[in-house]
Amino acid sequence: MMNSSGAAVVARGLTVVRGDRTVLSGLDFTVWPGRITGLLGPSGCGKSTLMRALVGTQARVTGTLEVLGRPAGDASLRSRIGYVTQAPSVYDDLTVRQNLDYFASVLLPGRRRAEIRRQHITRVIEDVDLASHADALAGRLSGGQRSRVSLAVALLGTPELLVLDEPTVGLDPVLRRDLWNLFHRLADERGTTILVSSHVMDEAERCHRLLLMREGELLAEDTPDALRARTRSETVEQAFLHLVDQADAAARNSSRDAAADPDPFQENHR
């Protein structure tokens, strides 16, 4: 079930205030179904905040934010979105399988669904390649293994939308490649919509579409190819730097203009 335009996520004027800071200011963007959308930007730019707004755990969100055809945070969305927080959120004092067991029975409760749960658990353990550690305590695993357990939990119940907050940070290159292959398999074979964040720009090349962020604002929304072509850059990283310089220059100009002619609407132009 999508929005009438067919988009999985539509944001218009999305604004979030945390403490006394406006962390996201008036974002407009669209996430398309069955695609991998990368949310890229330096640490602290508001990626996690945006994702929390999407899954409905962020307070003080204004503007419109529609997810799978419903307002973000709607109760009916809770079983349709898989969410991986930035820090792995699993129980350290349970084994991998016990963790999955519990989260599966929250998602698919009841004795009658025990067999379905078992199938889901077996599948996600294979998806994240943890079969050999299924009976190890989560707290005894390495950082990368724990974040894969956290990912496995999000894959339970075959969600339509996966929101992944920096799932590949700190993983070795082989694991990173494997996870990106998994993301592509999920998008291609199961039609899952994936929004994945990263502060490492080289991950961008693996996404279908990109949202480039900086200090709570959206710098660009496009495919990696189009971004590189538009900025005549070799890599997305260079394209990002180019856009940052452009935005800074524009800001300098507009503040000079604002000083000369104090038009209150001037600063809102981008």
């Binding site: 962020q58 307002p71 109760a75 969410y83 699993v90 129980y91 519990y102 929250v106 409760p109």
Partner: protein, 263 residues
């Protein structure tokens, strides 16, 4: 912000109770499984009260009447303190580890989560109380006039109250260190004023007034009723209702501190 009850079509067509009960049971089972990986904590929870009662029995070796009254009171106080500590730390961990945020982004009712915790710790409390009561009555010669089952009932309600207070307090602690500091703040004043050390009627009137609004006072009063009377008296009933009412009230307050959306 929407609540579970506003859930429209896409949710499972069957009514709420069955999946909700299944989620509560799953949560209780998960909490117990976590404990099972920590046998030292279980041993401490179950054995420390027994050890204290054992010590107390020989501290008051010369005056068995004193042991009767203090022992009966303590049978009500131990479950409250233990469950307070265990719950406040366990739920604080749930908050800081990010699993709470994850759970609240999943189709789990806040009530399911709280009931799951109450169920799991309630079970531990029953075992703890059975051990402590059994030891006191049959090995240490604690002499009560009323029924040991009533003693157990009060102990269980006290455990529930401890769970409720722990849950509530964990919302205001940023670390496990702070959570432990809430014990002197929340429990000690009640301990001093509950009538354990001297009858509440002998206290300075202001203190007596304060003790009248602290739930632990009623827990100890209820235990004293069982100690002195063969049947459940009217006072006993009132005390038990006050403790149960407080537990429910604080649980509701605790539920209100669980926010799906946080800053």
């Amino acid at each position: 912000m929407t609540t579970t009850h506003a859930a429209p079509a896409a949710v499972s067509p069957r009514p709420g109770l069955a999946p909700s009960a299944a989620r509560t049971l799953a949560t209780a089972a998960r909490v117990l499984r976590q404990l099972r990986h920590d046998p030292r904590s279980i041993a401490l929870m179950l054995l420390v009260p027994c050890l204290m009662l054992f010590l107390l029995r020989y501290v008051f070796d010369g005056s068995p009447r004193t042991f009767d009254s203090i022992g009966a009171s303590l049978l009500g106080i131990f479950p409250l303190i233990t469950m307070f500590l265990v719950t406040s730390i366990a739920t604080l961990r749930e908050r800081t580890s990010g699993t709470l945020e994850r759970l609240l982004a999943m189709p789990l009712g806040k009530g399911d989560l709280i009931a799951g915790y109450a169920l799991a710790f309630g079970l531990i409390a029953i075992i703890q109380s059975l051990l402590a009561t059994g030891l006191s009555l049959w090995a240490l010669g604690l002499d009560i006039v009323g029924s040991p089952w009533l003693l157990l009932l009060v102990a269980l309600l006290d455990a529930l109250l401890g769970t409720a207070l722990g849950l509530f307090v964990s919302a205001f602690a940023a670390s496990e260190f702070q959570a432990v500091q809430f014990m002197p703040a929340v429990i000690f004043p009640q301990l001093l004023l509950c009538g354990l050390f001297t009858a509440r009627a002998n206290m300075q009137p202001v203190l007596e007034g304060i003790s009248n609004v602290l739930p632990m006072s009623y827990a100890v009063d209820a235990m004293t009723e069982v100690l002195r009377h063969p049947d459940a008296t009217g006072d006993f009933l009132r005390d038990v209702l006050v403790v149960a009412g407080c537990a429910v009230l604080v649980l509701a307050l605790g539920a209100a501190t669980l926010r799906r959306r946080t800053a």
